[in-house]
């Protein structure tokens, strides 16, 4: 702590971070020198709880790890259980799961785009984007009955079918989404005030991104084309033509453009799924008390924020012996620290939001700093004592 450094706690209650996490920044004037993330405010001990619940009950728990990528976690969980059961799910169910996954990606990326605009103080864009996001929320509500936590994937297939007479309406809504996203892509790329706050801000070099095994748009914005849908394809992603978006700017603008292009890509995938939806049943029989044979399985899903890995070990019986979840945000935190160092205080929110952190996913296993630092709101006398102690150090 050099003479002029000043410790700014950001969070756990902070309007820029929608979730409780606490970053301690060592700053010199307006420059960030060092970052100590202190999270764990969201840790609920889900993995322990999963060991004491049956497979069907775990479906509801897995879905509520994180509101925005609930479908991704559920898809991965059902893939794991079906692999251990050796159960083959109907082709139609696979297409519906991919359709839901891509819809959720559109929903999450649009949400993030709005929040990113809000971080740099551009509230008008935030309101416009979230107004257009309502279109995808209505679409999700029509398909699954709920705006968030759709509970579509279940062990053995999908819970609800897509009525074929509704498909033209879904397509019309997808078209609206595509136009609006193209408009926002143009705004993001040309609006000078956005460029001022995002170009060259929070830059991550490609070597660092690979060294720290980052994932998702955070990695792809540094020019590395790594996508779980291509590296370890699951469901029917190997039959669907789509390309992996990469930009090599490595700064916040690259993150914005990667996500906006991915929305356009997801709209194409959704349309492909709707066109090639095979008919047939949507679910295999799996009784709620069903027992799962011994075995283990690892599965990857490309969630909105990156590669989401689940590991299941079952030793017979109706409860998993061990279930491990590593959400994408935890993999992105070391590279987030790299991005934050050397920036301005004013850039903290946009760089923090850059990796689209989902601390409710991460917090099942995020990390805390032992050093006994006070909570975010130092009272006056602590600050004075701290100030005196700091000056005569």
């Amino acid at each position: 702590m050099t003479e002029r450094e000043f410790l700014i706690p950001v969070g756990p209650q902070h309007p820029a971070l929608k979730e409780p996490e606490n970053f301690l920044f060592k700053v010199e004037g307006e420059y960030v020198v060092d970052v100590e993330p202190r999270l764990g405010y969201n840790h609920r001990g889900i993995e322990k709880a999963m060991e004491s619940r049956t497979y069907i009950q775990n479906l509801y728990l897995i879905e509520r790890i994180c509101g925005i990528c609930s479908n991704a976690h559920q898809t991965c969980y059902t893939l794991n259980v079906e692999e251990v059961l050796g159960m083959e799910i109907p082709e139609r169910a696979k297409y519906i799961r991919v359709f839901m996954a891509e819809l959720e990606r559109i929903h999450s990326h649009l949400l993030w785009l709005g929040v990113a605009a809000h971080e740099i103080g551009f509230d008008t864009l935030f309101f416009y984007i979230w107004r257009d996001r309502e279109v995808v929320m209505d679409l999700l509500e029509m398909v699954s009955g709920n705006r968030v936590n759709y509970a579509m994937p279940t062990i053995g297939g999908v819970r609800r079918d897509i009525p074929s007479d509704k498909i033209p309406q879904y397509k019309k809504m997808l078209k609206i989404l595509e136009e609006r996203t193209k408009y926002y892509k143009e705004v993001a790329a040309k609006e000078q005030t956005i460029l001022n706050r995002t170009v060259g801000v929070g830059v991550l070099k490609k070597a660092d991104a690979v060294r720290l095994s980052a994932t998702g748009p955070n990695l792809r914005s540094c020019g590395v084309a790594k996508d779980a849908r291509v590296d370890t394809p699951y469901l029917v992603y190997d039959q669907i033509p789509f390309n992996v978006i990469t930009y090599d700017g490595g700064d916040q603008l690259a993150q914005i453009l990667v996500r906006v292009d991915e929305v356009l890509e997801s709209v194409k995938i959704c349309e492909y799924c709707l066109d090639h939806l095979p008919d047939g049943p949507i679910r295999e029989k799996f009784s709620p008390l069903g027992r799962v044979p011994e075995g283990e399985a690892v599965n990857f899903v490309e969630a909105q924020r990156g590669e989401d890995i689940h590991y299941l070990q079952s030793r017979g019986g109706d409860k998993p012996y061990r279930y491990k979840i590593r959400a994408p945000t935890l993999a992105n935190i070391p590279s987030l620290i790299e991005r934050l160092k050397g920036g301005y205080i004013a850039d903290i929110p946009i760089v923090l939001a850059g990796i689209d952190p989902c601390f409710s996913c991460t917090d099942r296993m995020t990390f805390i700093d032992i050093e006994k630092e006070k909570t975010w709101e130092m009272t006056g006398d602590q600050l004075r004592r701290y100030g005196i102690e700091w000056y005569n150090r």
């Binding site: 551009f122 001022n196 006056g380």
Partner: protein, 338 residues
Amino acid sequence: MVQSIGDIIQIFVFPGFLFLLNYALFAEWLSRKFAARLQNRIGPLHTGWKGILQPLADSIKLLAKEDITPSAADKLVFYATPIVIFALPLASLLLIPIQSITNLWSFDPVISFEGDLILILLSMTIVILSIFLAGWSSSNRFGAVGATRAALQMLAYEIPLGLASIGPAIFAQSLSIKKIVNWQIESFTSFLQSPSLLAIPVWLIMATGFAVFVICLLAELELRPFDIPEAETEIVGGWQVEFSGRKLLLLVVGRDIKMVLAAALLTSLFLGGAAGPWPIPPLGWFIIKTVVCIFILSNLSILLARYRIDQMLYGSWKYLIPVSVLQAMAVIALTGVM
């Protein structure tokens, strides 16, 4: 005796505090509604007709709230600064010509003397200094960072603000706002009778002065592109973070009055004050012109994202100050020729 009662009414009732306070609340409703409509929202709706009483409801609620003073805060400064931030803009609004109560068609201000323009600029600077003190005295980290940012921002826009306001003063050969307004009326009427070629550069200079003035007012009012001192997403409310209850009320209404002061200054220096053709009295013209200025200010603040403090300093030192200096020089050159 009669004279003094007239003054009291002028200061406290008509073009004075009562009218200005209501007008400030009306201005806040206007900008909030305008911002909402621009963002495709509805804005306040249920309090009074179309939500017009919303600012009043906010103020009364704040009056009735608990007023917390942090134990470590510097008590005297913590109490004094909100009062200064509220009182100074209100007082300097008395210097603006709105409407004289003696006869319907004249618009001389409550007090007018040579150099009241300088007094208004001084009061604006003191308000910013008290904002710095307020943030610093609240002994909260975010307050401290907000305060330093407010001070930094003042460095950036004070000089262009002063220079831009000198333009009309030099044209009118005087530093009193009343005379500046009169000059504008004469030059405008003379231009209508005999449009001379010489008028074009005058209009050009006045236009650049207007633009520079608007940008500096955005910074002074801490509106969107320059609301760095109270950047809500970065430092949690900036220098206002520790204020609550009555002190927060003084700050909120103080900001509205500053908005009205900015709009009034803009109209009287560049848009011909409260003067206008026959049917509408000066008060009507004053309200129309200030509403237009408020629209301009809040429209600009809606459409732009927030700049970083260093970008703002860089922008103002590199562009704003040279332009305002050029404008002042051009004015001097032109008056020499005329």
